[in-house]
Amino acid sequence: MNILSEGRRLGRVQVPTVTLAHGGGGKAMKDLIDDVFVGAFGGGAGVPLEDQARLALSAFAAHGDRLAFTTDSFVIDPLFFPGGDIGKLAVCGTINDLAVGGAVPLYLSCAVIVEEGVAVDLLRRVASSMAEAARAAGVSIVTGDTKVVHKGACDKLFVTTTGVGAIPAGRELGVHRAQPGDVVLVNGLLGDHGAAILAARGDLALETPIESDCAALNGLIAALLESAPGIRSLRDATRGGIATVLNEIAQASRVSIEIDEAATPIREEVKAFCEILGLDPLYLANEGKIVAIVPRSEAEAALAAMRAHPLGAAARIIGEVLPGGASDTGRVSMRTVFGGRRIVDMLVGEQLPRIC
């Protein structure tokens, strides 16, 4: 439903918790949408809500010649964690998925599935967090949907965001474009999000000061592409961590990638967390980190552009692209701090803590 509407009186929810009535399509639902979402995302007075957002093509044409379009669902537990919450994550995640394609992110949708019994205040907090993240990143949330399901049919709150943006003419980033001689950059410390979420679930009885790195990277990426227009590929290193992203690039580009453990920036607390649980930080999720494959000639410019941005202060060159083997393409390896060398493969499933 389009929420870029004006001149209409906004409803307000009078009860503390969401019930199935709020998903029924009647006044209760309208009040919930008005109170929680329309209020937070903007608009409100004047035009009636429509079933769709109507966006001027000129808004896209001003930024580029192609549309970028992506969607992502968020089912994180816990909903609020050090460094963010499901709302901020849903906005930043979709913005980042657009931005790593070279696009200028412009509009988002927000669909929520709410379990009956969830506090309306919780939804207000999530919506206001989404609005804040979108505002900070310069994108608008322009349409959405709300469903309420029976207790147990979902875990408190699921959020889906879809995003559209425009790709400037001539910009061609691609996972298949890495070439031998290129260098591998990251914009900062790796594994914070994964470690923060595992710790926040509370069943490890480990207290850590680690916060999620959840952030919208469109500003950093715009500055980066300005300084290093020859960048071959950008990827955000979310689920599966940097190891998974590097493997995807190596396989698609039919090259080998070698990273240097000593140059790979990982917080001491994250290293210690992984030591205790038998996890590998290379596979931990990030929500504010990109991997950039950059031609060597632009490496310094790219590094300087990253470091000049607040979200890239700890940026590092962590490795290089090498020719793929004749029979064995797509390999990622790491020179260990110890002086050895090992393969960094894709994970089969999720990482499981080791027994001893």
Partner: protein, 372 residues
Amino acid sequence: MKYVDEFRDRDKAAILVREIGALAACIGRQIHIMEVCGGHTHSIFRYGVEGMLPSRIELVHGPGCPVCVLPIGRVDACLGIAEQPGVIFTTFGDAMRVPGSRKSLMQAKAEGADIRMVYSPLDALAIARANPEREVVFFGLGFETTMPSTALTILQADREDIANFSVFCNHITIVPTIRAILESPDLELDGFLGPGHVSMVIGTAPYEFIARFHRKPMVIAGFEPLDILQSIWMVLKQIKDGRAEIENQYARVVPEAGNAAALRAVAQVYELREFFEWRGLGSIEHSGVQLRAEYARFDAERKFAIPNISIADPAACQCGEVLKGLIKPWQCRLFGSACTPETPLGALMVSSEGACAAYHQYGGKVQRAETA
């Protein structure tokens, strides 16, 4: 990280690698050293230790991964318990993916069984306390490293009289298995890296027979890569000097006499089983423990009347030969084709500490390419 980085020092490693090279040259033949413990296997691959060693030295990755050696029949028994109505089945994380004959615990969880990952048996006991109307079963798994914590949890349950808690005991003991390997007629081992954390509990005395009767050196080793290099150097030194002794490289953690309190709890709660079956190795005498009759009410095997089914490993599996060092993982006819980490057939592919899974994840392709 303090007290960790010191044991990963590249310069000290380079010196040790040189010394190891000199000793190996002096000995002048192929040397096979088995690291018994899966934790060592994991470190060796994680830090690329194997590739730093001279080609004369071959590391044989032993049976010390409790998840890997769990037989199919026991996994099926877990599923039999976990799928009963009202049961909460608790387990360490890395046992979730081990395939039984029909499915793994992870698949059973997806189908609706209440299976929860815990980090300690005490977590399982807490779940039992919080859910008095449910039967809570802990999947007791591991060598002497984890055996005491399960024993102490049972003693705690006994003191608190928590009747809805029980343990499905699959704890195993490493020494009889080392003996079985040493008595195997096709043995090709020159020495051992001894398990560090097991020895922290049992001390060094139980290994004496290895030196005395089998004339093989063993060095009890820590888990950092420098520990492992130094222990390899110590084994080589013994071989060169013509000695066969049990030495302790991991003295900062392993007391010669072990941990008396842990051993007391183990002796109080468990007794040896006559036989226990190992995936890849078959049935080994006195290699597993079960709860004593005094603690029968905490014994899931008695509570749930689980049949002791033995299910043979797939016929084509060569896990046993890999465990004994007769072939390398990539020489197995199933490696990487029928048997992969996604669809493991054999014991050694199931856990990240298993030799085949480690080769597959950290270096199998390289190794194979070099062999081809």
